[in-house]
């Protein structure tokens, strides 16, 4: 197997995902099969090849540092799962002293 069950659980945590034991087992098999297929790339010599992250040569475009009004604040707030006035509520992240 190209990937172990333990690794699947570790990666799942990094992804902020969780799986049942049954799901994790199936996923381990599926991912192993796919990762084995990826090994095909190791047969290619890429020693002097530069990586491509974008197919076209693009540069970061600059713009004037001007404030523009964003008119859709209310529309964005409407999508929030839980609001308190105009603030989004999340579970507590700090412990009381």
């Amino acid at each position: 197997m190209a990937i172990s069950l333990e690794e699947v659980y570790k990666i799942a945590h990094l992804c902020r995902l969780e799986f049942t034991e049954e799901e994790a087992k199936v996923l381990t098999e599926e991912l192993s099969k796919i990762l084995d297929y990826f090994k095909k790339l190791q047969t290619l010599n890429t020693e002097n090849v530069k990586p491509t992250f974008h197919a076209l040569k693009i540069k970061t475009p600059f713009r004037e540092d001007k404030v523009k009004e964003f008119p859709y604040i209310e529309d964005i707030l409407k999508n929030a799962p839980q609001l308190c006035e105009r603030m989004i509520v999340v579970p507590k992240v700090v412990k009381a002293p």
């Binding site: 990094l14 902020r16 969780e18 796919i34 990826f38 290619l44 990586p51 693009i58």
Partner: protein, 489 residues
């Protein structure tokens, strides 16, 4: 008033009828909605039908026309893939995690269509977050191929392709990350184009793999496809990867170049074993016909066999990053929990479907410490080799002609349990995205079991007009209408 026969209509012919006052937009939209009511219970192309909004927009379009106004799409009903934002309408990406999401703004492509008077008839089904090749990964329901309801329409823009093929709207917009416009277009017998990366703004398209994603049009003809592309193309400061170039007049170009001969390359790696025989025969008949006018040359794209592995490392890696935003905090589905980390995990575990989770995991693995060099970096280097293959080929030829898929549309359920087999069905479309090139799929024939066969034309960067021009020539040469039998009953 002329009676509307949707089978016979194109965007351009409908515009002519509207201008001549032979039909009204209201009639056209009503007829399209009727078509949805008739056929969509079988095809299931739509996640949302904008009935009320479309009828209102049609009445407004008719009023504007009465006042003497004319716009490029005034009163024309089209559908939009449900990963492109239209303000005030749902954008679900066919995912439970966005089930209740309402778009707060318009995508730039939508803004441009609106400015020209287009009417949005509905949002079309897709594989969840555009990840898939059959539309079976939709969290809500699979879409059926109008040519054979037991078969897939392709994916991920399967809803858009099926909608256009069954004339539920006269055109559509989809998105193409590894073939998601061209493959469903091929499976449904319509025209679908992935423009050069950067030609159409991605602002308002829900990101899957940002270095590969591109919005593009579907139409029943090459002319309609070119016409839609004209409207949505162009530089947009809101998308930093959008190209600051001037867009040529596509329709004018294809008409002026009806007789132009091109040097066309056939990459031998695309015609090797594994191709469906009947499909290959139809494609070679077209190639024979092209020889009368064009120079056909065998070429080689030697790194083709590495494209699928390269793509399925790069696209999931980018997706891993892009999909981190769905955490249950600001929008989308939230699973209740007392603890923030638990809330993230539960929201994502319950909100995402299997394929999306699989790809997030693949991406995280490829990018993680210890595997980055062997997977993500390696794939990015192989991407260079794939790009260089194309750049060298375009020193010898003007355009490249290939199949779109290894086989005609497969059956629903046939590949869904084997992710790797599903990935391998994208072999001919993926390299085009990795290289950022323009590619079009046009229908060229039907198999003996009445399934569409298509070819792909690939061009150099920003030579979209050449791709369209050869497609237009082939369409004229074949002179066939692709109308699924379901429309004839």
């Amino acid at each position: 008033m002329t009676e509307i026969d949707l089978k016979e209509l194109t965007i351009l012919s409908a515009l002519k009828l509207l201008k001549e006052r032979k039909i009204s937009s209201k009639e056209l939209v009503e007829e399209s909605l009727k078509q949805i009511k008739r056929l969509d219970p079988l095809i299931k192309a739509f996640l949302y039908v904008n009935e009320e909004g479309a009828l209102k927009a049609a009445e407004l379009a008719d009023k504007l026309r009465e006042k003497g106004e004319d716009r490029k799409l005034l009163g024309i009903p089209i559908s939009i893939k449900d990963n492109i934002c239209i303000k005030g309408l749902p954008t679900t990406c066919a995912s439970k995690i966005l089930q209740n999401f309402i778009s707060p703004y318009d995508a730039t492509a939508i803004e441009k269509l609106k400015a020209e008077g287009a009417i949005f008839i509905g949002k079309t089904n897709l594989d969840e977050f555009a990840m898939g090749s059959s539309t079976e990964n939709s969290a809500f329901f699979p879409t059926h191929n109008p040519w054979d309801l037991e078969r897939v329409p392709g994916g991920s823009s399967g809803g858009s392709a099926a909608a256009v093929a069954s004339r539920m709207g006269l055109g559509s917009l989809g998105s193409d990350t590894g073939g998601s416009i061209r493959q469903p277009a091929a499976f449904c017998g319509v025209v679908g184009m992935k423009p050069t990366y950067g030609l159409v703004s991605r602002f308002g398209l829900v990101a899957f793999a940002s270095s590969l994603d591109q919005i593009g049009p579907f139409g029943v003809t090459v002319e309609d496809t070119a016409y839609l592309l004209q409207i949505i193309a162009g530089h947009d400061p809101k998308d930093s990867t959008s190209a600051p170039i001037s867009v040529p007049d596509f329709l004018k170009f294809i008409k002026e170049n009806e007789k132009t001969s091109y040097k066309i390359g056939l990459p031998k790696e695309y015609f090797e074993s594994g191709l469906d025989e009947e499909m290959t025969k139809i494609i070679f008949e077209i190639i024979e016909k092209l020889k009368a006018k064009h120079e056909i040359k065998e070429i080689s794209l030697p790194h083709t066999e590495y494209a699928v592995a390269t793509y399925y490392i790069i696209a999931p890696s980018e997706a891993f990053s892009n999909l981190a935003r769905y955490d249950g905090v600001k929008y989308g589905f939230r699973a209740e929990s007392k603890n923030l980390i638990e809330m993230y995990k539960k929201s994502r575990a319950l909100g995402f479907g299997r394929e999306v989770k699989r790809r997030i995991m693949l991406g995280a693995y490829s990018l993680s410490a210890g595997y980055y060099d062997a997977f993500y970096l390696k794939a990015s280097k192989v991407r260079t080799l794939i790009l260089q293959d194309f750049l060298s080929a375009f020193e010898e030829v003007d355009l490249i002609l290939t199949p779109v898929t290894p086989s005609p549309p497969f059956k629903i359920g046939e590949k869904i349990s084997d992710p790797l087999q599903m990935y391998l069905s994208d072999i001919f479309t993926i390299p085009v995205n990795l290289a950022g090139l323009p590619g079009i799929s046009i229908p060229v024939g039907l198999t003996s079991s009445n399934l569409p066969v298509a070819i792909q034309i690939i061009g150099p960067h920003f030579k979209d007009e050449h791709v369209l021009s050869l497609a237009y020539q082939i369409e004229k040469e074949i002179n066939m209408k692709f109308i699924p039998p379901i429309l004839k009953n």
